[in-house]
């Protein structure tokens, strides 16, 4: 906080504007203007193969609703979101509980924990292609060593299995951040609470249910929102692991195909807008139901 003093009148008043203007110009030009573009152009027919650009009301949305691939990708994405948010939150809480109390080597474990977060999703797709490979893969190698099932687990055969396997790769990437966020919330819980609970004869599991979970809610809410945003927009992992196959195509993949392969930008805008609105709504709902201000 600076006190507004005579300095302001001496012309220092322009300095803050000079300092913030590059960032503000970037945001206006390359975030806000494009966002407005997306909203407005959703209601226009913008098709490189069908010019000119013209107003089309809800035409794009109607065509999207009748497109089997789009409807299928909405179902797929719902599954990605469900599997990904649940798994990354549960695993994130579990990892945070393991790392809650200090022990020798904890910082090394945290460094290894965040490693998958730091790697590009595309390359993680390549890494896991090796794990899932029908012949040379780790999963099917272990399965056949144990004489469990001949052909093993395959990508692309069954929709649910495919989506679960692909989403596991994304969970590998986003769980570390969930764990860190929950861990940060756990660090704020005073030890005395656990000591008091132990004196009262409260077991570890019951302390987890009645102390850890409720007091970690702010961290859990933020972790869930980040997982939701990431999974609703999943692209890299299904693109690499499953290509253009419709078995597991996500909405973002479908947006990419519609816009940059079919060159129907209008429908692409409409689909992006729908995903954005869905993301904001679902995030708000999670914050409303999971987030609680915790006063300690």
């Amino acid at each position: 906080m600076t006190v507004p003093g005579p300095g302001r009148r001496r012309g220092v008043g322009l300095l803050p504007y000079a300092l913030v203007s590059p960032v503000v110009l970037f945001i206006i030009g390359l975030a806000l203007v494009p966002a407005v573009f997306t909203v407005v152009q959703s209601f226009y027919r913008v098709d490189a193969l069908d010019p000119p650009t013209r107003f089309d009301g809800f035409g794009n949305f109607v065509r999207l609703a009748h497109d089997k691939a789009v409807v299928g990708s909405i179902g797929n994405t719902a599954l990605y979101v469900l599997v990904g948010t649940v798994l990354s939150t549960v695993l994130g809480i579990a990892a945070a509980v393991v790392l809650h109390k200090p022990f020798r080597g904890r910082s090394v474990v945290i460094a290894v924990l965040i490693l998958p977060w730091a790697l590009p999703g595309v390359v993680e797709g390549i890494l896991w292609t090796g794990i899932y490979d029908p012949n040379a893969g780790l999963v099917n190698g272990v399965l056949s060593s144990l004489h469990l099932g001949g052909s093993g687990v395959l990508l692309g055969e069954n929709r649910l299995v495919t989506i679960a396997l692909i989403e596991l790769v994304q969970v590998w990437q986003i769980m570390p951040l969930s764990a860190l966020l929950v861990l940060a919330a756990l660090q704020l819980i005073p030890d005395e609470l656990y000591e008091a609970a132990e004196i009262d004869g409260c077991g570890a599991w019951s302390a987890f249910l009645h102390i850890t979970l409720p007091l970690a809610r702010p961290g859990i809410a933020v972790a869930m929102v980040q997982a939701l945003i990431m999974t609703l927009n999943v692209f890299d992992q299904p693109y690499v692991l499953n290509g253009a196959a419709s078995t597991g195509a996500s909405i973002t993949e479908q947006t990419y195909f519609i816009s940059f392969q079919d060159l129907d930008f209008g429908q692409g805008y409409a689909l992006s807008l729908s995903v954005t609105i869905a993301t904001l709504l679902i995030s708000l709902i999670v914050v409303k139901f999971v987030y609680r201000r915790v006063d300690l």
């Binding site: 600076t2 300095l15 803050p16 300092l19 913030v20 590059p22 503000v24 970037f26 945001i27 390359l30 975030a31 203007v33 494009p34 966002a35 573009f37 997306t38 152009q41 579990a94 393991v98 910082s107 474990v109 945290i110 460094a111 290894v112 924990l113 965040i114 730091a118 790697l119 590009p120 999703g121 595309v122 390359v123 797709g125 390549i126 890494l127 292609t129 090796g130 794990i131 040379a136 780790l138 099917n140 190698g141 056949s144 060593s145 951040l177 966020l181 570890a204 702010p218 961290g219 933020v222 927009n233 692209f235 690499v240 290509g243 947006t255 990419y256 816009s259 940059f260 805008y269 995903v275």
Partner: protein
């Protein structure tokens, strides 16, 4: 009771380490095998006859694939470095003003910068492509870096704002009393104190840039600007590149981010927490 809890913790620690490291180990193992060894049944869990042939092919070979890997490795380093430098410099200036100066409209400007973080990144994919293409910036470093910077600025500004806001005001006041200008205060007094925050921001921005895929997939059309991530995905999509070579390429693409994550994890953890809480 306490000893039992300790044993469970080590089980948990073991599971965390396995979960993070097994997929990386598997790619490393495959990258040191010949194609025949990697495809042998039953599956070989360790490279019994390790070979550097895959890495030699990628780094020193004269095939099409080696050219693509080498050029795209240069591209990704150039794009990530430029995007990081521009993002950190601009975000530092703005965050300092937002955290330390009072001026009309500061609140609304600050919140509009932050509000764009709520949009999913891909909301603006198509309009950004069309803007870049109307300025003929598709398939240029400039176009890609501009898009990266616009995407990373809100988080960088937020993290740095929190660092600056947490520094004691007395330091600046002392500098002002001694007759230093605002910019001298920023340069000589505030920046050295905010160094951990600036390093965190730079590392996280660099990692974000390194991980980009869909934006460069759309914004770069050939090898003159395609980063490693785009080239690796296209090699995988062609199904003719050997499995072990693909894994070696994957290993090359994770060396830099893995090193950053392991060597500077404290900065990254602090930066991530400063950015996503409060």
């Amino acid at each position: 009771m306490r000893r039992r809890a300790g044993r469970w913790r080590w089980v948990g620690v073991g599971l965390i380490l396995l979960w993070s490291l097994v997929p990386i180990y598997w790619a490393l193992k495959s990258s040191f095998q010949t194609e025949a060894d990697a495809r042998a049944t039953p599956v070989r869990y360790v490279p019994t006859n390790p070979t550097l042939q895959n890495f030699r092919t990628l780094l020193a070979g004269d095939s099409d694939v080696s050219d693509q890997i080498r050029r795209s490795a240069v591209n990704i380093v150039v794009e990530c470095t430029l995007a990081t430098v521009v993002t950190v410099v601009l975000a530092t200036l703005a965050a300092f003003a937002f955290a330390r100066m009072r001026f009309r409209g500061s609140r609304i400007l600050f919140y509009s910068v932050l509000a764009t973080m709520a949009f999913p990144a891909y909301t603006t994919l198509i309009p950004l492509y069309r803007i870049m293409s109307s300025f003929e910036l598709v398939n240029t470093y400039t176009g890609i870096v501009l898009v990266y910077v616009s995407g990373f600025l809100p988080l960088a500004t937020w993290v740095l704002h929190n660092y600056f806001a947490g520094l004691p005001a007395s330091i600046e006041e002392a500098g002002r009393v001694d007759g230093a200008t605002r910019l001298q205060v920023l340069w000589y007094l505030v920046l050295p104190l905010a160094r951990p925050g600036i390093i965190s921001t730079a590392l996280i921005t660099f990692l974000f840039a390194w991980a980009q895929f869909l934006f460069p997939l759309v914004l770069s059309s050939d090898l003159s600007t395609q980063p490693l991530t785009v080239v690796i995905a296209s090699l995988q999509g062609r199904h003719v590149v050997p499995f072990t070579l693909l894994n070696a390429a994957g290993v090359l693409a994770i060396v830099v981010p893995a090193f950053i994550a392991l060597a500077f994890n404290r900065y990254i953890v602090n930066g991530l927490l400063a950015g996503s809480t409060k």
